[in-house]
């Protein structure tokens, strides 16, 4: 690969990209944030001035090359600026999930030995102060929002604006130092350290180099021809690798504008106001939006509802084909054009997706219904497959080759191979350097030739070359009769029902499969309202006989669909319970990115699992819950065990195999 290494001479770091952008794009908007009801804008030149002032301030505070600077907060330009500012002075930025409890934060802060923390507001400052005694290397904390912090002891606390002011005051004195440190930044230096959410065990610090980030950003930007005119809305956690690549890597590489919402609650309005051209969301966001649309259409007038149904049916028929550039009759095109005028256009506009040129979803499997709904509206939604260790991109779908059941072809510069056990391996310029202070894991994940094990089982479709992921490799097991057990496969099918938020399937080494279900309070609550079902709590709604009946219907539908797959027909769900509480990251049952931690669930709900297999009709249980502020409480409930019909595996398949 000649091209990137040529770049390497000129641009070896994010700060170097910042300099380039400030020169090349000068007054073009680089960052926007809605504050006080107005979008505030910083151009690339202004952003550079702010970032350098902060960098000087950091030197002034005593930041040394090699120090770790933790960043905790929601998506705001000032916090994004900490990344290049830290890099400029030779430090390593470490973003941390802002909704972590203090204890989780303590682990990460202690593991990387952060000397400095940049926190958004009082809430985050309080969490760090709570655990600071456990952090031997912690020295100073910088906060962005001074509200409520005036009375705090300021021996170790500094206001962000004040740090910048000190930097500006010392500009003559410290600029030579900054220039010297900046000039030392090399292509193989550490760019950022990101902690994986960790479905098993403690989070691991993934070290990514400038090379990883810059080459990945370059390749992926070229893949979708992203340019300086694009707009993104930055609303996903800054600690997540995806946000780092989109809002920092690609933004710096292409010079597009990063827009930050006013608050998480105003996301929908802000999305509509900005109208991003490049948009990323995990499946749950798309699901949530679709559920909202459907709920509102239920309440719409008869005429509108009919118009919506009629044109959506047409969109489902031809929308995807038009998007993929396939041939569609002139009549259908005209009808689609009309539909766009009356239904799709206004709908896209109200979703804030009118201008989306490239949309991605990843992280989890997306339901085919949901996926096709957005595609049929004319939104170019695609799937990608990636992980922190790869600087995101492993595979992605090129325009025109988009399908709901694959994750696409290898991204530019990525090589793929499938191991003997079916596990997917990849090698790319984005492959991480190492896990921080964890040589053992580094060795077991990345081999000497640079191949990285994804931990996912999958296969490459021979005719299309697309990768299909079945499940986590370690979760794939065998049932007692030797049949293949792939829980995720069944769980995804269950979760495609809007009423089911989360599902956990058991059955490894057992005769039959069983499942836990979580209802989606939004969807089921609305359904209950329309059917005049009264309920006073989540637990009560989840245990309502009518809800159980509905869930039973969903499970049986899934069983029928699972039975069609010869290999996996043994994974049909025989019995299930609807859990009395939502699986929650605060309780450790799912990760901050929403993946089920099976071991925790197995341990915590062992009594319910036993009941699923010992023939009980119901089970009385008591579960510990953790509130947002860290306090503990208990929920007690009696759960009914529901039996679902299964389709005999020996039944002849309705559709002949290809």
């Amino acid at each position: 690969m000649a091209a990137p290494s040529q770049d390497a001479g000129a641009i070896a770091s994010i700060p170097a990209l910042l300099d380039r952008n400030a020169k090349r794009f000068g007054n073009k908007p680089a960052y926007r944030e809605k504050e006080f009801g107005i979008w505030q804008t910083w151009s690339w030149a202004e952003a550079k001035e702010e970032i350098e002032a902060l960098a000087l301030g950091l030197i002034n505070l005593g930041v040394q090359p090699g120090d770790f600077i933790a960043i905790i907060g929601s998506n705001r330009p000032h916090l994004y600026w900490v990344f290049p500012a830290a890099q400029m002075v030779g430090a390593i930025p470490v973003p941390i999930y802002q909704d972590s409890a203090a204890e989780e934060m303590a682990y990460v802060l202690d593991h990387c030995g952060a000397r400095f923390v940049v926190a958004e507001d009082q809430e985050q400052v309080d969490k760090v102060i709570e655990v600071q005694d456990q952090l031997h290397q912690f020295e100073h904390m910088i906060y962005l929002d001074p509200r409520g912090l005036r009375k705090y002891d300021h021996a170790k606390l500094h206001e962000y604006a004040h740090v910048q002011a000190m930097g500006r005051a010392a500009i003559d004195e410290l600029t030579p130092e900054l220039t010297a440190r900046k000039s030392k930044l090399a292509y193989d230096d550490v760019c950022v350290m990101l902690y994986t959410s960790g479905t098993t065990g403690k989070p691991k610090g993934v070290v990514l180099s400038n090379r990883n980030i810059i080459e990945t950003s370059k390749n992926s930007s070229e893949f979708d021809s992203l340019g300086p005119g694009d707009e993104v809305l930055a609303y996903l956690p800054m600690a997540w690798v995806g946000d780092f690549i989109f809002s920092i890597g690609q933004a710096m590489w292409t010079g597009f504008c990063v827009n930050c919402p006013e608050s998480p609650e105003t996301m929908v309005t802000d999305l509509r106001e900005i109208g991003p051209t490049y948009y990323f969301a995990p499946p749950r966001v798309f699901e949530g939006q679709l559920t909202n649309v459907m709920i509102r259409m239920e309440d719409a007038s008869k005429f509108k509802k009919r118009l919506f149904d009629k044109y959506m049916a047409h969109a489902r028929k031809v929308g995807g084909k038009i998007l993929d550039g396939e041939s569609v009759s002139a009549g259908d095109r005209f009808k689609y054009w009309l539909g766009n005028l009356f239904v799709y256009g206004p709908l896209k506009n109200s979703l804030g997706l009118s201008r989306v040129r490239v949309g991605y979803t990843a992280g989890e499997a997306i339901g085919p219904e949901i996926f096709h709904f957005y595609r049929s509206l004319g939104i170019n939604l695609k799937q990608l497959y990636g992980q922190t260790e790869a600087s995101v991109f492993i595979t992605q779908q090129p325009d025109g080759q988009v399908r709901s059941d694959t994750v696409g072809v290898a991204s530019p510069g990525v090589e793929l191979k499938i191991g003997d056990n079916g596990e997917v391996y990849y090698r790319s310029p984005g492959v991480f350097e190492y896990y921080y202070k964890n040589e053992e894991s580094t060795k077991s994940t990345k081999d000497a030739e640079g191949w990285v094990a994804t931990g996912d089982a999958g296969f490459i479709e021979p005719d299309s070359g697309h990768l299909r992921i079945i499940d986590r490799a370690k979760d794939v097991g065998k049932m007692a009769n030797g049949a293949l057990f792939a829980p995720k496969y069944v769980e995804n099918k269950l979760k495609f029902f809007p009423n089911i938020l989360e599902a956990v399937v058991f059955g490894n080494g057992r005769e039959e499969c069983t499942a836990f279900l979580n209802i989606d309070l939004n969807a089921v609550g609305n359904w209950a309202e329309r059917h005049n079902l009264a309920y006073s709590s989540y637990t009560e709604l989840a245990g309502h006989p009518k809800v159980l009946e509905m869930m039973k219907g969903h499970v049986e539908e899934v069983n029928a669909s699972v039975a069609e797959d010869e290999m996996l027909s043994g994974c049909q769900v025989h019995r299930f319970v609807v859990l009395h509480k939502q699986l929650d990251p605060d309780d450790g049952e799912i990760t901050r990115t929403g993946k089920v931690r099976r071991r925790t669930v197995d341990e915590k709900f062992a009594d319910i699992i036993t009941a699923l297999y010992d023939g009980s009709e119901e089970i009385a249980t008591r579960t510990e819950v953790t509130y947002e502020d860290g306090r503990k409480g208990y929920i007690s409930a009696t759960l009914k065990i529901v039996k679902a019909k299964t389709v005999p595996a020996s039944a002849p398949k309705a559709v002949a195999a290809e």
Binding site: F36, G37, R147, G148, R150, K151, E265, T266, T269
Partner: protein
Amino acid sequence: MMDAQPAEGFVTADGRKIGGVVMEMKNITLRFGGVVAIKDISFDIREGEIRAIIGPNGAGKSSMLNVISGFYVPQEGEVIYKGQKRPPMKPYEVARQGIARTFQNIALFEGMTVLDNVMTGRLNYMNTGLLSQAMWWGKSQREEIENREVAEKIIDFLEIQNIRKTPVARLPYGLKKRVELARALAAQPSILLLDEPMAGMNVEEKEDMSRFILDVNDEFGTTIALIEHDMGVVMDLSDRVVVMDYGRKIGDGTPDEVRNNQEVIDAYLGVAHD
């Protein structure tokens, strides 16, 4: 009155500045026909403090607040505000003097958006005429932008950005209370009167509201006088507490002093009155 606090002001243990007396109630008596709602009550409010008025039902707390806000004119006694005796005046005149309030039963414009409601709190800062505002040109445009800025800062402060454009009628009770606080704050009052700010709220909403009251006091230095039923909240929030019972003042002092006052304990535990 027993008052160990220095007249010229002091700094509290948690670093807030409490100034001199900003308002003084002197021997206030308020009657409605034959009913004596307030009987010869005196107390003062210092600049920058949170001053609570508590008491059982029918003790005369709301009447007291209405006297401060100018809605009721007491038959006897005087109100001294910023060193001057206040003549009987209309509530809007009192508002112009820098006293804003919220109501026990929310009194917002239900059909208007949150933002518009907050903007009404800026009314006393708008001087251009109706016609000029309708034309939205020159001075009136500048004026609206300035006032909008203040309103937006308060919306940001109280974290109600997401309902900025939502009509008040659609909001749940707890949020309406917060909007009312926002409107009162928009007037940038020197004294803020809160009439049962936590009434009808659940624990979480109460915690939020308490946080906001403390933050308002801390951040803007606003003097706050509040009436509240929830004893726990009052004791946690306030610097000094006046306790009323049957129109009389039966206690006055710091929360600790009041808590240990026998007469107060009796009033709350319900000792038989003669």
